[in-house]
């Protein structure tokens, strides 16, 4: 009686393809549907080109307020009435924004797809946006930002964006805005953004689930029929980085038992030519448990619960950042390790076995990532927002399987820029401030945590 010492020899994987889906135009609106048999729940959602990057500077956070206000009462019922109507169907409302999209809709038992889509249409077309409602939603959001930024990770991200991007860049502030920008938003700003951005020509209805007995065209008509369009194409946002080489910002929080570290710089947009090589390289550096950052900071040194890093690629630009929450005593050595790993990758690229693992993981995990209706709906939303071809995910997976070591090495050399690293530390400055000046991380500014 013993253990089996030999690793199992496994068979061939079942072939995988992203679920097939249909594109159609119904009542002038775009509808994407994917039939996934056997699932009791379905998704009906609107994906709109109405993300945060189009917001005016100084009033960032409008898109998120629009998304939230959609479920806060319509011309025919109040916020409570709208919530109850959905919940009695067993429908879960979700509305969110990111840099490049606004998405809202329901996950719902498939038999209630029609009724849920009517509610979705009611929200996007007839939300009342009354003065008192918009004021409440904005004030709730301001309070929420106050709570969020009391967390070290959120406070660090705020300081990082502010230092990496120029003052008038849209990426200078978080996609959800901050207390100052939210406070400057008027009710009319919210209404105007909605009428300009949340329009049928900027929107796509995505329906995913067991659609055997579902009249998809009827769902499309529910959303688009008679919805007036007054879309205005938004200008491309200013996403200018500040520039200026290495520099460090410390947000001083006396008494902190950890330092939240972020190290990085601005980065390329999603459509960067070597996206597959760049993002696979980033997996090796900081995107998996066995990535270099985590092995060094956690598994070798025990400095942190985890260390990760990678690129956030948006439509118009992005960031590269490595991060870890480390115990205060090791702030400087941990920073040195993060920077050293970024430099080592930039300079020397990846090892062959690291590439093998990252490639195998990334290509192999597709069937898991897209097993459920929510994930497939989200994937379809990405296709819409980035204008990807229908075979995008299959193509992406194949390109991951084909990507070569020299391509990763060249991406590392190009897209990692150790000379431009911006370092942010949220922690108790008294423990490390005096040594930070000589740490080679550029000029150091220490700001009190005013929150």
């Amino acid at each position: 009686m013993s253990l089996v010492s030999d690793r199992p020899v496994v068979g061939e994987p079942r072939p995988w393809h992203f679920p097939s889906f249909q594109r159609q135009t119904v009542a002038g609106g775009r509808v994407l549907t994917a039939h996934l048999p056997g699932r009791p729940l379905a998704v009906t959602a609107l994906v709109a080109d109405a993300g945060a990057s189009a917001e005016p500077i100084g009033r960032e956070g409008i898109a998120e307020l629009v998304a939230r206000a959609l479920s806060e009462g319509t011309t025919s019922r109040d916020a409570h009435g709208f919530a109850v109507a959905g919940e009695r169907l067993g429908a879960t409302w979700r509305a969110s924004t990111d840099w490049d999209s606004l998405r809202c809709g329901f996950e719902v038992p498939v038999g209630e797809l029609g009724a849920a889509t009517e509610l979705l249409a009611e929200a996007v077309r007839s939300a009342a946006f009354a003065d008192a409602t918009l004021a409440r939603v904005r004030d709730e959001r301001i309070d929420e930002v106050g709570i969020d930024r009391s967390q070290p990770a959120t406070r660090a991200a705020e300081a990082f964006a502010a230092e990496v991007f120029a003052d008038l860049s849209r990426y200078h502030r978080s996609d959800g805005g901050d207390v100052a920008s939210l406070s400057a938003i008027t009710n009319d700003d919210v209404r105007d953004y909605r009428s300009a951005r949340l329009t049928p020509s900027a929107s796509t209805l995505v329906v995913v689930g067991d659609l055997d007995t579902v009249d998809v065209e009827a769902l499309g008509r529910t959303v688009f029929d008679g919805w007036a369009d007054n879309a205005a194409e938004p200008a491309a946002p200013d996403v200018q980085p500040r520039g200026g080489g290495r520099r460090t910002v410390v947000v001083d929080r006396p008494g902190s038992v950890q330092s939240m570290l972020m190290v990085g710089h601005d980065g390329p947009p999603r459509k960067v030519e070597d996206y597959v090589a760049m993002s696979t390289m980033a997996l090796v550096l900081g995107g998996m448990f066995s990535s270099r950052l985590n092995l060094k900071i956690r598994e070798e040194k025990g400095y942190a619960y985890g260390a990760f890093g990678g690129f956030d690629t948006r439509k118009h630009g992005g960031v590269f950042v490595a991060r870890a929450a480390v115990q205060s005593e090791v702030t400087l050595p941990a920073l040195a390790d993060l920077v050293a790993e970024i430099e080592r990758m930039q300079d020397g690229g990846v090892e062959r076995d690291e590439l093998e693992q990252a490639r195998a993981y990334r290509a192999g995990v597709f069937p898991i990532s897209f097993a459920g209706v929510m994930a497939v709906a989200s994937g379809l939303g990405d296709l819409v927002i980035h204008d990807f071809p229908d075979d995008h995910f299959d193509q992406l997976r194949q390109r991951v399987l084909d990507v070569r070591k020299d391509e990763l090495d060249s991406s590392a050399a190009t897209h990692l820029r150790p000379e431009d690293l911006v370092t942010v530390v949220v922690g108790d400055a008294s423990g490390f401030a005096k040594d930070l000046e000589s740490a080679g991380l550029g000029p150091v500014s220490i700001v009190p945590d005013e929150s």
Partner: protein, 435 residues
């Protein structure tokens, strides 16, 4: 109401006592492997709080045929995802894999179930001790409101009860943990006859059972598992308990814990429905009164009040009440209690229908993934002895009559059965001062 699916499964017991639950689902080419061990932080010895969780970390550090670091890299290279978690009643380890890699997952789990000691050493323990201490710092010590859970456990369970302390444990106890503790803990609790293996997904039941036998069959049974300390408790706390914490936080916030009948009881199920009427979803009573009408409570996506699935004598039902800026926490708390007390005047059929529709879709959502289902099979098999309860849970919730919703609210959500932890912002530099 949607059709309620029945999740097919078969249950087996290997000669060494390992329970195996297999459920086929061929919709996607994926499989979830999940091992629940019947050991959690409630089985810890005095002076060793946090040990069950620290030990969980050691299970990822290699075993007889798996080198340090290879557990993660093997699963990732297979295109899989993995993790482990520890809570009061259990420890679970799980991976989701492309289905042709089922054997890889089983081999890895078997190797650490039967062969951990060959890889366990002082260096691994020291490293993971630091990792866990940083996990505690990151999730508790350096988080605003981070101590709330410890306060509720302390207030709701007496000092000699195994739920008195939280799973993350204390820094001093983590420091004291030795290699010998780890060896003893493993020798005591980690055995096929103290575990449930669940396999859910694109597999053939007979083949999966064969593989389970191949990889786990050679691990000897241990038996003789110690009886954990008694957990019996009076049905109620017997008086209101309060604690005020002054800390550097943006807004006041109250956490209210109620002693509640354990997971798996009729009262627990009824309270789930009552809690959803009260605080589940934006159509709930508390959301309407406290967020929409009076604007006292900061809204969030989670439930305002919910119960945990503990089995040891009594579980906890917890309300989380963050105040809006400028709102007096006492005003918020009173408004909350008034709304809870109003349930005694009765609830409508429509309210209960809404709650049950929400419970239904949340349950379907939870079980829509193979990993959610594997974990739930493991939960029912380990905690309540029967994986088949997965198919009874929803019918049980749906069968709760209106009268029971009112009655259970009156029995549980009452002043003499609650502990209230109130966080107050401190503008000075003072650290936490617990009353």
């Amino acid at each position: 109401m949607p059709t309620i699916p029945t999740y097919p499964y078969s249950e087996h017991r290997l000669d060494n006592g390992l329970r195996v639950v297999i459920s086929e689902d061929h919709l996607a080419a994926v499989v979830a492997v999940n091992v629940w061990y019947d050991v959690g932080s409630r089985h810890e010895s005095p002076g060793r709080t946090g040990f069950a969780h620290l030990f969980e970390h050691l299970m990822f550090q290699g075993s007889a045929n798996v080198a340090r670091g290879e557990h993660f890299s093997t699963v990732n290279s297979a295109g899989g995802t993995l993790n482990g978690t520890t809570w009061c009643d259990r420890t679970n380890y799980f991976e989701t894999l492309p289905s042709h890699h089922l054997a890889t997952g089983l081999w890895l789990e078997a190797d650490r179930m039967g062969g951990l000691l060959e890889a366990l050493d002082q260096a691994n323990l020291d490293n993971q001790r630091e990792v866990v201490k940083n996990e505690r710092r990151q999730t508790r010590d350096n988080q605003p409101y981070g101590s709330w859970l410890e306060h509720l456990h302390e207030l709701c369970y007496p000092e000699d009860h195994p739920y008195h302390h939280t799973t993350i444990g204390s820094m001093a106890d983590l420091d004291a943990a030795s290699l010998e503790d780890a060896r003893n803990f493993y020798a005591t609790w980690y055995a096929p006859d103290n575990a449930v293996l669940s396999i859910v997904g694109d597999v053939d039941t007979a083949e999966a059972l064969d593989l389970a036998n191949t990889y786990f069959g050679g691990i000897p049974a241990k038996g003789g598992f110690p009886t954990p300390p008694p957990t019996d408790l009076p049905a109620r706390l017997g008086g209101e308990r309060r604690r005020t914490v002054t800390d550097r936080i943006p807004v006041p916030r109250a956490f209210i814990g109620y002693r509640t009948a354990p997971f798996g009881t009729k009262e627990f199920d009824a309270l789930q429905v009552a809690a959803t009427v009260l605080g589940g979803g934006r159509g709930s009573r508390l959301y309407k009164a406290l967020v929409l009408d009076r604007q006292l409570l900061q809204p969030s996506d989670g439930a305002i009040i919910d119960s945990w699935p503990f089995i040891g004598g009594a579980t906890l039902t917890i309300a989380d009440l963050p105040a809006r800026e400028g709102v007096d926490i006492d005003v918020l708390e009173s408004a909350y209690h008034a709304e809870v007390d109003r349930i005694a005047d009765g609830v409508t059929a429509e309210e209960v229908e809404r709650a049950k529709a929400l419970i239904t879709s949340h349950w379907l959502h939870h079980l829509s993934s193979v990993e959610g289902r594997a974990d739930t099979f493991g939960q029912y098999a380990t905690l309540l002895g029967d994986p088949g309860l997965i198919n009874e849970a929803l019918p049980n919730w749906l069968a709760v009559p209106i009268d029971d919703v009112v009655a259970v609210t009156g029995e549980v959500l009452r002043q003499d059965n609650r502990a209230v932890v109130t966080f107050i912002p401190d503008v000075s530099d003072e650290q936490e001062a617990a009353a």
